[in-house]
């Protein structure tokens, strides 16, 4: 082989080894994500175009909505695509990413994130587990603080030291993820007695409300473009936002409107002493009641949605799981 050809081959081979090595390091050293949202690897195991309804937002979604219960009550499939402190910008990129493999008829967007800061302190998780592509890049630059971006663009920066604590089999992790038995829901058993607190007010100057509005509008446009019905809602909480804050969101949403479930805490049947995990998150018991309420309110309209080809066995297991939640992955 001529020296020039040899050089070129060696260079290309080295670059390939370098890229492959970085990919391997990122994949092997990043901890698995199966709890508390951002479970993208499990989401990607979901049968293509099998989800009727999608729930998007922060922990207020993955703690409050149980797709297994919705399926048991309505027979329709749903999935919770969410992450801790998921900013509105991240929600936008989450929806875009989720729509690459699913085509839901309806998206429920939890809009508490309208009052989140511009950058999430959980961006490492919320964005770090997103599949590689333009949506991940978009989320990195829109919702991660500048000092966190390098670690998200180059994961070994954040995780390379994990080799010191990993057991041998973890170095040979294979791509054998299974679908999430909870379809994005996070099982929380513990109950803490709560009291209804005074409505929370937000100083708009301290957050990036304008940016959040911009991304909310982008979500509205995206749903319109894909003919997806969008429902913006506030999940039930012991510390709801004040009327003035809700009005600000309503102004943004116009005709789309805002569904505030805090108005229905009694109708939902939430018991403040047994149904909350903390001030803002429902536990399993509360989530079951809230999901039943959602099924009742929307179940009828969902019946008109076209039937999809979904994995019946998986969804039956998910419906069964709510009957014995401790027996599974919890």
């Amino acid at each position: 082989m001529k020296r020039k050809t040899k050089e070129t081959v060696a260079l290309l081979l080295s670059l390939a080894i370098l890229a492959g090595g970085c990919w391997y390091i990122s994949r092997m050293f990043m901890p698995d994500r199966t709890f508390y949202g951002a479970g993208w690897s499990m989401y990607r195991q979901e049968k293509r175009d099998s989800v009727d309804v999608m729930f998007v937002g922060s922990s207020f979604v993955y703690c409050d909505v149980i797709p297994g219960k919705l399926y048991a009550d309505t027979g329709r499939t749903s999935y919770v695509v969410s992450a801790p402190v998921c900013t509105m910008a991240t929600s936008y990129y989450y929806i875009r990413e989720a729509l690459r493999t699913q085509s839901p008829e309806q998206i429920f967007l939890e809009v508490s994130s309208m009052f989140f800061d511009e950058y999430s302190q959980y961006a490492d998780v919320a964005v770090g587990y997103m599949p590689w592509g333009v949506n991940r890049l978009g989320a990195i630059f829109a919702s991660a603080a500048p000092e966190s971006r390098f670690g998200l663009l180059f994961p070994p920066y954040s995780y390379h030291q994990r080799w010191q604590e990993m057991e041998l089999p973890a170095f040979f992790k294979r791509g054998d993820e299974t679908p999430d038995p909870w379809a994005g829901y996070m099982y929380l058993k513990e109950a803490k007695p709560m009291e209804l607190a005074q409505a929370e007010t937000v100083e708009l100057e301290s957050i990036s409300f304008e940016k959040n509005c911009r991304y909310l509008q982008k979500i509205v446009e995206l749903c319109k473009e894909r003919s997806i019905s969008l429902v913006c809602f506030m999940s039930p909480s012991c510390r709801p936002y004040g009327e003035a804050e809700l009005e600000l969101i309503r102004e943004q949403l116009g005709d789309a409107g805002l569904r505030d479930f805090n108005e229905d805490i009694e109708e939902i049947g939430l018991d403040l002493t047994t149904d909350f995990y903390d001030e803002r998150h429902l536990n399993f018991s509360g989530a079951m009641k809230f999901s039943a309420f959602l099924a009742e309110e929307y179940g009828e309209s969902w019946q008109s949605l076209p039937r999809r080809d979904f994995d019946g066995e998986l969804w039956s297991a998910r419906a069964d799981k709510i009957l014995a939640p401790d027996g599974g992955d919890a």
Binding site: R3, K6, E7, A10, L11, L13, S14, I17, L18, G21, C22, I25, D124, S148, F150, G151, P156, Y157, S158, H160, Q161, W163, Q164, E165
Partner: protein, 485 residues
Amino acid sequence: MNFNSLEYMLFLPVTLALYYALPGRVRNPFLLAASYFFYMWWEPAYALLMLFSTAVTYGCALAMGSAREGGAHRRRAWLVLCLAVNLAILFFFKYYNFLASSVNSLLGRSSGGLPALDILLPVGISFYTFQALGYTVDVYRGELEPERSFIDYALFVSFFPQLVAGPIERAGNILPQLKKRHRLEIRNLPGSVLLILIGFCKKMVIADNLAVVVNGAFADPSAYTGAQLAFASLCFTFQIYCDFSAYTDIARGSARLFGVSVMENFRAPFFAESIRDFWRRWHISLSGWFRSYVYIPLGGSRVGKWRRIFNLMVVFLLSGLWHGAAWTFVLWGAVHGLYQAVGVLLDPVRERLYMAVPKNAPAVRAVRILFTFTLVCAAFVVFRAESIADAVYILKSAALAPFTGLFPLAFGAMGLTRRMLVVVALHVVLLLTYDGLRDKEAFLGRVSSTVWQKYALGLFLIFSILIFGSYGKEVPRQVFVYFQF
């Protein structure tokens, strides 16, 4: 700008690309601007100080050149002026607070004595001042013509690869290279890149990981056992070597990319067979500077035994003081001076001994290397300790370790996991093997000219850094130890 920063990873290739893209006559002004940019990244205002020092040495050297016919007095006056101004700057920024606190504590004054000033030590001031002073003395001695081009001279002082932590270069080596018009030699690239990667590997895999052990033990020695302190001292010896020689490797590799060959600063110092030999291998540029501009003018070795010992003590005390404004550094210099003094006194004994036992016998050499290394290790404890009292405590505890219990060593409790300790130890073995090569340059040249070997070595170094390197979100960035000097 730190070498071990993302900024430098961008700065170097961009500067390199622009340098070779520009026409020849604007390359040096560009490289000068880039070097100042590199320096100003840390503290812009102090670039003015470097510029002032540069202007003074440049002007004084020119004045000395033009006063050549005018007589020795005028030349000497210019030299004294140049030395006085530069040493005054160095003294003010580096030693004033040390002097003030020493005087105040000597007089027992906690207030009302010499005031302490809130000044930041300009990075690299000791390096560029010595480099500029060396040039001035060379011109004074007539060994060098004064440089006419201010741009070239300023670039010699501020050339970014070796600006902050050396090597302290000689104008006679660098200036002629800066005047040449360089062409980008693709075949030279791998050698330079490999040298830079070796530097990063030493710094990030060995030095910065060992820093975890060292920082903990030296911050609170009383919390550690004698064996642990002995281990921490050993770790520091390797840490400082890897840290400092890494800087030199990156500096040399970076300079080579611009066609400039910077001198070697370390030559397998841990294979030294005596302290004298150690100083021929450790921080060669500083040792050379002191030899040329202090030791030899004092009479060097061509004087009586006691005068030679005096000369050695002066050089090593100054060398200690050069490193930092603290008594620990002065003591470190004094310890090395004493080592050398004892060496001089024992010369006749050694001569007789080597008549009985061959000096070059492998076992004898091994013992000499081990003994020298132990002395160097012990001296570095003084260098690193927070105070002289700490240094004494560490040395005492470490020396008594065999009697107070070597086991359990509990190295795992010193901040590094067992796995990391094994990895670092393996890298140290590889480093010592590399150091043990008779001609490292030839080795790198050979590897660089073989396609598969150079890529294999490059990939090995990159993956070592990526996986085992001390970097990342939750890892505090360790600056190069010699940045503080």
